[in-house]
Symmetry: C2
Subunit: 174 residues, 2 copies
């Protein structure tokens, strides 16, 4: 996946000093690379039955939306508080400073639905853990977590146990 | 498009009293209806050359991402201030109370690129007008604006002149 990694722009000191930001917008500007990324993200789940893709606001909407469309299954958005108009379940997660919440529509997943969770980036795993909690609350069965990028040195995978976690592109250090 | 309209959930008094919110998450839960919506949104632009789709955070990321993927062209995100990591252009727009800003990466569009602007909803047209300004600033040529839903009683189309505006589903009153 070195050729896809080259499509990702590295921006030092964003959003703050000392952080190397992995900018996926340059990948999205290249439709061939985007197609390759989507196919690569789906490959490990090819033999799985999937009923719905869950994607988290905002970049997870791009990859989650495309992957749901490609698979021909439902797309279920997870959003920041107050954005979803119907009855929701909530889960909180730790951020660098303080905590935040995520919501899902209560009727978005039926008991036993096979769920693929998609996002652009696995960092500390806080968001993923909240999504895991939301899907489990609604009785969904998580088939796996699928990321374009993983910052494996942050060990976010630990928080998503016992589920299968796949990332197409790995950064093993900052 | 009556059958697609039936897939949209109507939620009274959201986000506040007197507003009938059109909830697209129920459409996205139905993959056949979603496919039909995407095809329907693209139909009026079939004969056009398109280089990139511009989609606005957050729901525009879902439809814009899928449409760019379907067309095999670049996807360019427009985001709220401070979210895009590279050098940006900014445009402000009027909201119900006060104003807000949107940003686009300066290198996301080349002069002369043919741009399709995609979003889920055309209401007052404030967001669309800001996107128009951003694309024009970068020298992009707008092929048209493409929405899933239009609230035509708010006359947002006026703000997007002189460009072609297409909406698949129209609500002519609140």
């Amino acid at each position: 996946m070195e050729e896809l990694k080259e499509k990702i722009r590295n921006i030092p000191d964003f959003p703050k000093k000392g952080i190397m930001f992995r900018d996926i917008t340059t990948l999205l500007q290249d439709p061939k690379a985007t197609k390759k990324a989507i196919k690569g993200m789906l490959e490990p789940f090819e033999s799985e039955k999937i009923d719905a893709v869950v994607g988290t606001e905002s970049r997870g909407f791009i990859f989650g939306g495309i992957i749901a469309y490609e698979l021909g299954v439902s797309f279920v958005p997870v959003r920041k508080p107050g954005k979803l108009p119907f009855t929701t379940e909530k889960a909180s997660f730790e951020k660098e400073y303080g905590s935040d919440e995520l919501e899902i529509h209560r009727d978005a997943i039926k008991k036993g639905d096979k769920i693929l969770v998609v996002d652009d980036l696995l960092a500390t795993g806080g968001t993923g853990q909240a999504v895991k909690e939301l899907v489990e609350k609604l009785g969904g069965e998580i088939v796996g977590f699928c990321f374009l990028i993983e910052l494996s040195f942050l060990e976010g995978k630990e928080k998503l146990k016992p589920y299968k976690v796949f990332s197409l592109i790995d950064y093993t250090s900052e």
